[in-house]
Symmetry: C2
Subunit: 285 residues, 2 copies
Amino acid sequence: MTATIGYLGPKGTFTKLAVDKTFNGEAKHSFSTIPACIDAVNKDEIDIGVVPLENAIEGTVQLTVDYLVHQVRLPIVAEIVVPIQQHLLVHPNFKGELSDIKEIHSHSHAIAQCHQYIHQYLPNATIHFTSSTGKAAELISKRDEPVAVIGNQLAANIYHLNTLQNNIHDFPNNHTRFIVLSKQKEMVKIKHPIQSEKTTLLITLPSDFAGALHQVLSAFAWRKMNLSKIESRPMKTGLGNYFFIIDVNQPYDDVLFPGVKGELEALGCQVTVLGTYPVYQLDKL
Amino acid sequence: MTATIGYLGPKGTFTKLAVDKTFNGEAKHSFSTIPACIDAVNKDEIDIGVVPLENAIEGTVQLTVDYLVHQVRLPIVAEIVVPIQQHLLVHPNFKGELSDIKEIHSHSHAIAQCHQYIHQYLPNATIHFTSSTGKAAELISKRDEPVAVIGNQLAANIYHLNTLQNNIHDFPNNHTRFIVLSKQKEMVKIKHPIQSEKTTLLITLPSDFAGALHQVLSAFAWRKMNLSKIESRPMKTGLGNYFFIIDVNQPYDDVLFPGVKGELEALGCQVTVLGTYPVYQLDKL
């Protein structure tokens, strides 16, 4: 049976790029929002969902975490890390110079990621915002004029645009993280080598008292369990309550993790395993 | 002298709403991206900048933190907390029912924040994405048809739209946090009562070893200094290095904070005070 994969679209986005690079042969469906994609997995309309978790162009990251925590609990079965690479794309008939460009079209986040570049090389171009980088590419593909779009390689391929300048993003080591959600782990077949394994925990504190987080971290520290991410988020039930998302740099096991869980629950915390999963790092797109 | 305030625009956004509710009499300038607004403060083109820090509709949150940490160090002089309230707005001539609505227009994040509502009450309306909620409101104001926009009260006021349904956002206790940046603290005059005082620290670890963060938190815990937020972010210099943004629930002082700083620096950390500032909570917009 062919697995069906849902992703945050439209086509030409970084999420689609990540999905195309990691999955082959599956049926792919575009969703217009993160909750819609997560819901579809939850209702078994699709087998696998891919949504941005960190540093995304399209989609708010907090929304993914909040929706997974408050609305729908689905296991994270993989993580895909993709370098952010933005290019300056133009209509194939454009033969001019950089200084001829009169307009730049893109999603506001992509424009912001290339802020220094635009300031230095295209200070006189007017900026036009679109609802996605893919939309901007589609627009430019129909305009044989000295206008440019900021987008990725996939957008260039889909809309047959030429690359006037490669890698115009300001930060060279910027990545977007995507998570793969599925009830059926065995359906997720990614052929890339596994870079590392991680476990993501959701921990809620009984109250926000001084040292609570310190106590929580003690349980990991004395076991020499390394953390690669910690983030506090307010509970939606009101101000003053927090939950923490913690990434531990090792797969779930039957000794250390149950030990941590037991100690934290004795302190009044709630501990939920959101997933233990492989990480795939895509070096180049 | 009248202070000049820059904010992430366009008009009709939550940032503009927050600025209008907290500042009076200052000259206000809209910026199209977060880095452009921060740069303008840094170059003294404006006195005060207001940008989203958490859970924003427009603007990526990580970008604000990364830009402040890596590009431009400006003091945070205030925080503004605004409840997220999304309304279903229609053309003033619309006299129909909810079920008559054929199209919904808004920014993708606003659509996502009202996902459950749309699913339940407007399942057959087609969704159209715009680059901002303000843009969507402008669009609908020119169309005397059964179409709706998801936006805030300011967008309704600016574009003379009627509110078909109030507060259609899925999470009742959702807030956006904005930070106020300025080199001249005395120019920032907010007339609302101060809700609390906070200090935000940037801490970089010498390496990501097990227990490093635990050691860092020890310095706060034994002094009973309460933290309201902690977030780790990868350094842009490469994978495997981290910095932490920590919010401490008290103003900077001459005893406790220098003590923390000294201890952490002895452990090889770098500690930077990003700001010590009042928090203003706007209850209703």
